[in-house]
């Protein structure tokens, strides 16, 4: 996958990107010549001729392509954040109509009108994005398609302002870009700016938070990312850029009408992103070039466009998905890694150097100077589907204390954890961290220092190990967004430091291959990575849900030392666990739940001997390990 950071190992292929840049700077004629030439080369077997043309028509095509590239890059921001929009033609439309109306009817200067178009698109992006972000992935896709449809209807309907179906004509290009050849430079400058803006965005803390949200919203919340803010932010920024594209489009054509902003256009934008590789830096540009040139190529062959090129489009899409299901860029990386570079097979080797990493872990925690908080929850009650899942539970943990929560399945342990984490709101009860009331929202409590691990580790699967840790570090070491987007030296330094720290944390928990994608890790390493992410978020109190489940005895030992180190560093820990030996070894206090109530509370030794606990939970089990041989 594409890197989500500027730091770290660089590919030696990155200079390939200079090629299109050079082409862009070479000017409209050169660009048009190359584009038309390459297209005619590809279709030469059918047409029998090769033609390099820099006609006005080809120059126009190049400029239109660059406008599309701007919109497609904007759409990519939304896509990387885990949303599919089939409605970007609506923002494109708003940008175009605003610029056109203000310059032709209100005598605004082009620049002000363009700015206004961007602002209005962003505003519309907020209005439409804010309700839409709660929707599921595909519902959002369809609803946004509805936006595109409605926008088209509305400009047709509001005839007195927009000219209805007849459209608006006489839109002038601004000086000094008045001619088609000179207007190229305006579009090219904006295209380059937007490209670098989106690249920096995707690799900034914004982009990482967006990708994390796309991968797993619950996990994103658990390290303090406000999922809704992330999504609305992406939507607004994306809409603004799409509006910019529209604002540049109107003077290019000189005439606009609703027919130019159909849902088909929105679909085309999405197809360009997906074909090239959604969420990658350069993929959408490649997708835009390919899909833009197909109808022109078909026209070269058949002499007619329309439905034949549409047919070719569809066939190309289906075939390309079969050949490269994740888009062009993934296919390219696969080839590059497989044949062009040393290819190493990922093996299942999972060695833990426990002693080394334990010492490292201690130093790391000591250096982090964590501050523990006191967590107190009193009288928590929660009814779930008529069942009192949690029925008046008090729980407290002091800094540096390990508090285990045990009990039979269905006794309310997980519900308790969810109430404490703020994933559910309790019907009654109080919750304080260091005496302060904290609202029951996952990301808010996380920002107050409440860390969490999950029964099945929740990772950001499409990101590498080091990126998983970086997302958490971003929360605590926030940077000036302007500096990041402009890649100022301070931002570069900050990024580099964070990267080194992420590597350090990974090494401390025992992960030595930081570039491995999280989704291919073995179960044991998933736990380790989750703990690394937890440490990176610098928690004050930690909730752990069955951290030992599915681990071998050696791994449990390792876990034990890490939990002890965390406690020694002053972090309070609440632990839900079935592994009795593990609980007895690490816990300072044990609370036993049954039917949503506390049935025992005390030191591990007291609880172990409690007859009520033996009957409800432990049975004779602790003895079988010794007694069976």
């Amino acid at each position: 996958m594409d890197r989500l950071t500027f730091a770290g190992p660089k590919s030696r292929w990155r200079y390939l990107g200079l090629l299109p840049l050079a082409l862009l700077i070479a000017g409209p004629k050169a660009f048009a010549t190359v584009m038309s030439g390459v297209t005619s080369l590809i279709v030469a077997p059918f047409t029998g001729t090769i033609e390099f043309s820099s006609s006005r028509y080809e120059i126009f095509n190049v400029e239109l392509l660059l406008v599309y590239v701007i919109v497609v890059l904007s759409l990519n921001i939304v896509f990387q954040n885990g949303m599919i929009s089939l409605g970007h033609s609506a923002f494109f439309l708003v940008g175009a109509y605003t610029t056109a109306l203000l310059t032709t009817r209100a005598d605004w200067s082009f620049w002000l009108a363009l700015l206004m178009g961007v602002v209005l698109s962003a505003a519309l992006g907020f209005m439409l994005g804010a309700p839409a972000i709660r929707l599921g992935l595909f519902t959002l896709a369809m609803v946004s398609m509805g936006y595109a449809l409605v926008a088209e209807d509305m400009v047709t309907e509001w005839r007195s302002i927009t000219g209805g179906g007849d459209g608006l004509s006489g839109i002038q290009r601004p000086a000094p870009f008045g001619e088609l050849e000179t207007y190229y430079w305006l579009i090219a400058i904006f295209a380059i700016l937007v490209f670098f803006f989106t690249r920096n965005w995707l690799r900034s803390s914004f982009g990482r938070a967006g990708k994390a949200t796309a991968d797993n919203e619950v996990a994103a919340g658990s390290i303090g990312i406000d999922v809704r803010v992330t999504k609305v932010r992406s939507f607004v920024v994306s809409a603004a850029l799409a509006g910019l594209g529209g604002g540049l489009y109107a003077p290019l054509i000189g005439f606009i009408s609703p027919a130019a902003f159909t849902v088909d256009l929105a679909v085309l934008f999405l197809l360009m992103v997906l074909l090239g590789g959604g969420g990658t830096v350069i993929g959408p540009v490649i997708g835009a070039v390919i899909l833009f040139r197909i109808p022109l190529a078909v026209e070269d062959i058949t002499g007619a466009a329309g439905n034949i090129s549409l047919l070719v489009y569809g066939v190309v899409l289906v075939i390309s998905v079969r050949l490269m299901p994740q888009g062009f860029m993934s296919a390219w990386w696969f080839i590059r890694d497989r044949w062009l570079a040393k290819y190493k097979v990922q093996t299942m080797i999972d060695e833990l150097k426990v002693d080394e990493s334990a010492a490292h872990f201690d130093t790391l925690l000591a250096a982090a100077s964590l501050e523990g908080s006191e967590l107190r929850a009193a009288g928590m009650r929660k009814q779930l589907g008529g069942v009192k899942a949690v029925d008046g539970i008090d729980i407290a943990v002091l800094p540096g204390q390990v508090h285990a929560l045990i009990g039979p399945n269905g006794s309310g342990k997980t519900t308790t954890l969810n109430l404490l984490s703020g994933y559910m709101e309790s019907d009654y009860g109080e919750f304080t961290l260091n005496g302060e009331n904290v609202p029951a929202r996952g990301y808010v409590r996380a920002r107050y220092g409440l860390g969490r691990t999950f029964q099945t580790p929740l990772l950001f699967g499409s990101m590498s190990c080091v990126e998983n840790v970086l997302v958490a570090l971003d929360r605590k070491h926030s940077e000036n967004p302007i500096a990041t987007l402009l890649r100022l030296p301070t931002a570069r330094r900050n990024e580099h430091e964070k990267y080194q720290r992420a590597l350090d944390i990974l090494a401390a928990v025992g992960i030595t291959d930081p570039d491995t994608q999280a989704s291919v890790l073995t179960p044991g390493r998933r736990r380790l990575l989750e703990i690394a992410r937890l440490v990176a978020s610098e928690p004050a109190v930690v909730l752990m849900d069955e951290p030992a489940a599915g681990l071998t005895s050696a791994e449990i030992e390792h876990l034990e030392t890490m939990v002890r180190s965390l406690a020694a560093a002053g972090v309070g820990i609440i632990l839900v666990e079935h592994h009795v030996d593990f609980v007895l070894a690490v816990a300072d206090v044990v609370t036993v739940l049954d039917f949503g109530k506390v049935i025992a509370h005390g030191s591990p030794q007291e609880v172990r001997q409690d007859p009520v606990v033996m009957k409800a939970y432990l049975g004779a089990m602790p003895d079988t390990a010794e007694g069976q041989d």
Binding site: V345, Q346, T347, M348, I349, D350, G385, G407, P408, N409, G410, Q455, V520, T522, P523, G524, R525, E546, A549, G550, L551, T552, S553, A554, E555, I556, H578, V580, D581, A616, Y617, L618, G619, A620, M621, P622, T624, A625, Q628, D629
Partner: protein
């Protein structure tokens, strides 16, 4: 003749090899347990036998039929039932519907289905009492019973059990292992993957130790439980 014969089995996901040259047999009526670390390939072994992971080399015979390259549905019909890790019952179906789905591979008449269901309810009375309740509302232990019951509905010759103790309270784990022991007593052949090695060896006849995709030790359950190296590595 052995019920299950695995010879030189290698398997993996895409380019990642997980199992390498694994050979073993399971005889009619015995419990064989597979123990090993995380990522050793235990679950992959079961998935491979069930036809869900691609075999790259080797042969697998179930009751004389070669099952390499066959689909999970065909393998199920030949007499292999898989009880997945984390139970994985269908939460929005009733207990009854879950059991009926367990028999999906068989295509039988309703009366026969009801008879078999009756047998499952006899074995696990708690399921019979709540037969119309949705499986999602059951506790972890009850879901594990249901998961085993679903496998029984397929009338298998061989049952694969993947980590039946995972995430269960100690007292429930005890009951689950009791149920597995009873199953074996009534003649069922079982291949058991279990993290909780001590408990698994206590009810098994034989054991295999898997490490990094290969079998590194095998023997009777008593031998393995008494082996110092294995005690240290897996029995804690």
């Amino acid at each position: 003749m052995a019920l299950l014969t695995v010879e030189g089995l290698s398997a993996g996901y895409g380019l990642v090899p997980v199992l390498e040259d694994v050979s073993f047999t399971v005889d009619q009526g015995e419990i064989v347990t597979v123990i090993g670390a995380n990522g050793a390939g235990k679950s992959t072994l079961l998935r491979t036998l069930s036809g869900l992971t691609d075999v790259t080399a080797g042969t697998v015979h179930l009751d004389g039929h070669s099952i390499v390259g066959k689909s999970a549905a065909v393998i199920g019909r030949l007499g292999l039932a898989h009880v997945p890790e984390n139970r994985r019952v269908f939460p929005a179906h009733s207990i009854r519907d879950n059991l009926a789905l367990g028999a999906f591979v068989r295509k039988v008449r309703k009366s026969e289905l009801d008879d078999d269901m009756g047998e499952v309810f006899e074995r696990f009375p708690v399921l019979g009492e709540r037969s119309t309740q949705l499986a999602g509302t059951l506790s972890g232990g009850e879901q594990q019973m249901l998961a085993i019951g679903m496998a029984l509905m397929a009338r298998p010759k061989l049952m694969l059990l993947d980590e039946p103790s995972l995430g269960l309270a100690p007292i429930i784990v005890e009951r689950v292992f009791e149920a597995i022991g009873d199953l074996a007593k009534s003649g069922m052949t079982i291949l058991l993957v279990e993290q909780f090695a001590a408990a698994a060896l206590a009810i098994a006849d034989r054991g295999l130790v898997l490490q990094l995709g290969s079998i590194i030790a095998r023997g009777s359950a008593q031998e393995l439980a008494a082996d110092d190296a294995i005690r240290r590595a897996y029995l804690g």
